[in-house]
C-alpha cells in the first residue's frame, strides 16, 4: 500500500467551493449559472472517479498542508486522505450531485422558485463540504468540514422563507450545531487522552490504554454529536421538519450528504479513532446497537402513520440510517460490510424516491401518501417508478 502525494483530493474539495464565485457572479444569466453548476459537478465527479483505480489497487492519495492547529503531543495537520471508506462516500456524493443538478434545474425553473442563485451556490458549498468530510484525514479536519456542511445546508433548509421553513431552519441549526459542539468536546477529550487526532486503521492505540471512563465519555460525545446528523433517535426530529426544503435538497442532502456525513462520522469514530476492538472492550457496542435498533423500529412505525409523503420518506431515512449504525455497532466484519454497503444502496434508492415524490409541481403543495392520490392514473410513470424502487428496497430487506 503506497501513499501518493497528490493535489487531487484537495482539488476535489475545492472545485465546487470555488464554483460558488462564478455562480454568484452570473446571477443575471441563469443559463450560464447552471452551466457553472454542471461544470463543477462533472469536474468533481471526474476528479473523484480518477482516484478509483489507484485506491482499488491499494494506494492512498494524500494532500498534506502541515499543521494548522496545535494538539497536545502532535500537532493537527490540515491533510486530506483518500482511503477506500472515504472514496466510497466521496464518489457517492459527487455522482449523485451530477444527477441532482440536472433535476434541480428543471425543478427550480419549473416552480419559479425564489433566490435560485443562492440555492445553487449553497448547493455547491454543501457538496464541497460533504466531499471534505469524506476525505478528511483526522478528526479536526472532519469537524471543520462537518460544521461547514451545516452552514452551507442551512440556506437550503430555510429556502422557502416561509415561517415554517424558518422554524425548520432554526431547529436544524440548533440540533446540528449542538451536535457539532458535542463533536468538538469529544475531539478535545481524544486530543487530551491520546495527544493525536489522526485516523489510523484499527483505532488510535493510546485510546485502548486510556482511562476507560473518560474514553467512554469521549465515545459518547463523538457518537452523540455525529448521531445528530445521522438522525439517531431521540436526536432525529430536525430531519422530518427539514423536509420543507425543495425536493432536490431533501433528496441529495437529507437522504445522502448530510445524514450520511453523520453516519460516516460514526463509522470513522468506530473504525479509525477507537477501533472495533477498543469499542468492544469499552462495552460501548451494545448500547449503540440498542439505540440503533430502537430507532430502526420506532422510526418505521412512525413512518407508517405519516400522511405527507416527504415526511414519510424522512422517517424511512431515519430508520434506514440506523441499519448502517447497527452494522457498525455489531462490531463484526460481515455486519460492517453490510452496513457500509447500505450507504450507497440507500442513497440511490432514497434519492430516486424523493425525485419521484414530487415530479409534478402540483403535487408539491399537498404531497400526500394517501393511496387514492398516489395512483398510476394521475402520474403513471413516476408512480410506477416509485413503486418499483420501493419494492427494490424491500427486496434488499430494508424498507
Amino acid at each position: 500500500m503506497t501513499e501518493i502525494d497528490s493535489l487531487r483530493p484537495l482539488a476535489a474539495v475545492l472545485v465546487s467551493a470555488v464554483a460558488i464565485a462564478p455562480i454568484l457572479a452570473s446571477y443575471r444569466r441563469p443559463n450560464l449559472r447552471e452551466g457553472w453548476t454542471m461544470l463543477a459537478a462533472l469536474t468533481t465527479f471526474g476528479l473523484v472517479a480518477s482516484m478509483v483505480p489507484g485506491v482499488l489497487a491499494g494506494d492512498t492519495y494524500v494532500t498534506d498542508f502541515g499543521t494548522f492547529v496545535p494538539g497536545v503531543e502532535s500537532n493537527v495537520a490540515f491533510a486530506l486522505r483518500v482511503d477506500p471508506l472515504g472514496l466510497l462516500f466521496a464518489l457517492l456524493a459527487s455522482t449523485l450531485w451530477v444527477i441532482t443538478s440536472l433535476y434541480s434545474i428543471g425543478y427550480m425553473r419549473g416552480l419559479n422558485e425564489n433566490d435560485q442563485t443562492r440555492y445553487f451556490a449553497a448547493f455547491a458549498g454543501s457538496v464541497s463540504a460533504a466531499v471534505g468530510v469524506a476525505l478528511a484525514d483526522n478528526l479536526v479536519v472532519l469537524f471543520v468540514f462537518y460544521e461547514l456542511l451545516t452552514v452551507a445546508t442551512y440556506p437550503l433548509v430555510a429556502h422557502d422563507q416561509t415561517d415554517e421553513a424558518r422554524r425548520a431552519g432554526r431547529k436544524y441549526l440548533a440540533y446540528t450545531f449542538g451536535g457539532g459542539v458535542a463533536v468538538l468536546a469529544g475531539t478535545l477529550l481524544v486530543v487530551w487522552l491520546t495527544g493525536t487526532v489522526d485516523f489510523s486503521a484499527g483505532g488510535i492505540a493510546a485510546l485502548a490504554e486510556a482511562d476507560p471512563a473518560l474514553a467512554r465519555v469521549a465515545f459518547a460525545l463523538l457518537v452523540g454529536g455525529f448521531g445528530v446528523k445521522a438522525a439517531l433517535m431521540p436526536l432525529h426530529s430536525w430531519l422530518p421538519d427539514a423536509m420543507v426544503a425543495p425536493t432536490p435538497v431533501s433528496g441529495l442532502l437529507h437522504a445522502v450528504a448530510v445524514v450520511k456525513s453523520g453516519v460516516f462520522g460514526i463509522a470513522r469514530v468506530v473504525l479509525d479513532v477507537f477501533g472495533p476492538e477498543t469499542v468492544g472492550d469499552l462495552g460501548m457496542g451494545l448500547p449503540l446497537a440498542a439505540v440503533a435498533a430502537f430507532t430502526l423500529i420506532a422510526a418505521s412505525i412512525i413512518a407508517l402513520r405519516q400522511d405527507n409523503l416527504k415526511r414519510r420518506l424522512a422517517f424511512s431515512t431515519v430508520s434506514q440510517l440506523s441499519y448502517i449504525v447497527l452494522g457498525l455497532a455489531v462490531l463484526h466484519p460481515r455486519a460492517l460490510t453490510g452496513g457500509l454497503l447500505h450507504i450507497p444502496a440507500h442513497a440511490f434508492m432514497k434519492l430516486t424516491l424523493f425525485f419521484c415524490a414530487t415530479t409534478s409541481p402540483r403535487w408539491r403543495a399537498s404531497a400526500s401518501a394517501c393511496p387514492r392520490r398516489w395512483s398510476r392514473s394521475r402520474l403513471p410513470r413516476s408512480g410506477w417508478r416509485a413503486s418499483r424502487w420501493s419494492r427494490a428496497s424491500s427486496a434488499s430487506g430494508t424498507c
Partner: protein
Amino acid sequence: MIDGLSGTMIVLVAVSALGVLSYARAAGPRSNPFYAAYLLLVAGLTGMSVTGDLFNLYVFLEITGLAAYVLVASDDSGRSAIAALRYLLIGTVGASLFLLGIGYAYIATGTLNMGDLATQIAEVGYTATLVQAAFAFVVVGLFIKVAIFPLHTWQPEAYASAPDSVSALISALVSTVSAYALVRVVYTAFTADFLEANPLAADLLGAAAAVSIVAGSLLAVAQSEVKRMLAYSSVAQFGLVVAAASLVNETAMIGAVVHLVGHALMKGSLFLAAGVVATATGARTVSEYDGLVDRLPVGAGAFGVLALAMVGVPPTLGFVGKWYIALGAVESGSWVLVVVIVASTLLTLAYFARLVERMFFRDPATALADEVGVAASEDEAEVVADGSDLGATDGVVTSGSDPATDGGDDAPSTDRVTFGMYAVVVVTAVLAVALGLAVFEYAEFLEPTITRLLTP
C-alpha cells in the same frame, strides 16, 4: 518594553485604526477636533501596549479613556452625551481602582516597574495581604475597563449610541488593549507564581469569566438594537479571553491572544458593517434587518460571514482562537470552563443566527411596510417582489442597482456608502476567514514570549 505580545497589540492598533480611518473618512464625524481625539486615542492605546511601568500604564489608560469618552460623544445627539458621561464616571472609577491597586503594590514593594515588581513581590511573599489587595484592585479596575459582566454597565449604551466609526474603533481596540494590560500586569508584574500560590485568585478569575460568557450572551439575545447586541456580545467574548488568562498555560494564553486579535478584527468590522447597513438603508434594529440581502447583498454577505466567524465556525479566526482556549482548558483539566467555552459557541449562535435568518430568509416588504422612517426601501422592496413573481430570474437580480443609491432618496440623505466603507468591511470579512489558516505560524512566533511570561 516590546515582546511578541505588545508587538502584536501595536500592529493591531495601527491596522485597525487605519481601517477605521478609511471608513470614517467618508462616514465619520468630519471635524478637526474629532481627528485630534482620534489620534490621541491611538497614541494612548499604543502607549498602553508598550509601557513597562505601572503608573505609566495608568496615565496612558487615562489618555485612552479620555479620548474614548470624548469620541463617544462626538456626534450631535443627547443620547451619546449621556452614554459618554456614564462611561466617564464608571471608567474613572475603574481607573481609580487600578490606581489604588498600584498604590497597594507600591506600598508593599516600593517600586513601580513591572519587571522589578516581579522580583520584589516574590520577596514580600505571594500570600501577603497587601499583594493580594493590590492584585484584587488592579484586576477589578481593569475588569471595568474591559467590561466583564457585572461591571459592564457602561459599555452597551456607549457602543450603541456612539457614531458608527467610533463604535467600531472603541469596540475593536479599547477593551482589547485593556485586556492586554490585564494579562500584562497579571503575568509580568504578579507572575504565574502568584496565581499558583493563590489558587482562589485564579478560580475567581475563571468564575468571573464564565459568568461573563453566559450572561453576556443571554443579554445579547434579548436586545432589539443591533449595535447593542454586538456590544453585549463583546461582554461574552472578553469572558473567553479572561477565562484563558486564568488558566496559566501556554496553549490557553496563545488562544487568548489569538482571540483578542480575532475579536478586534471581527467585532470592529461588524460594527462597521452595521454602519454601512444603517447608512444605506436606515436599518438599526434587528427587525429592520429583514430581507437585507435583497437591498444590500454585499453588506449582508459580509455581515453574515463575520457573524459566522464570530460564532466560531471553522476554519475562521474565531474558531482557532476558541480551539486554543478550549485545548488549554482541557490541558489544565478545568472541566467547567471547557463546558462553558464549548457551549459559548451555541450561545453565540443564539443571537447571530437570529440576525442571519432575518437578513437572508425574510421578505423585506412585509416587515418594512409598517416601519416608519425607512421609506427609502419601500419602492426597492416592491421591485424585489415583482422580480420574484416573474419567475425564471430570481430576486437577487433586481437588487443589482447600486446600493449607494438606495438610501439616497430621502433617508439619511447626506450620507452615502462609499467604496472605502465597503472595502474595509469586505477585506476584514475575508481576513477573518483567511487568517484562521495562518494562525499556527503566528502561534509559533508568539511561543517564546508566552513561555517567558509563564516562567518568570
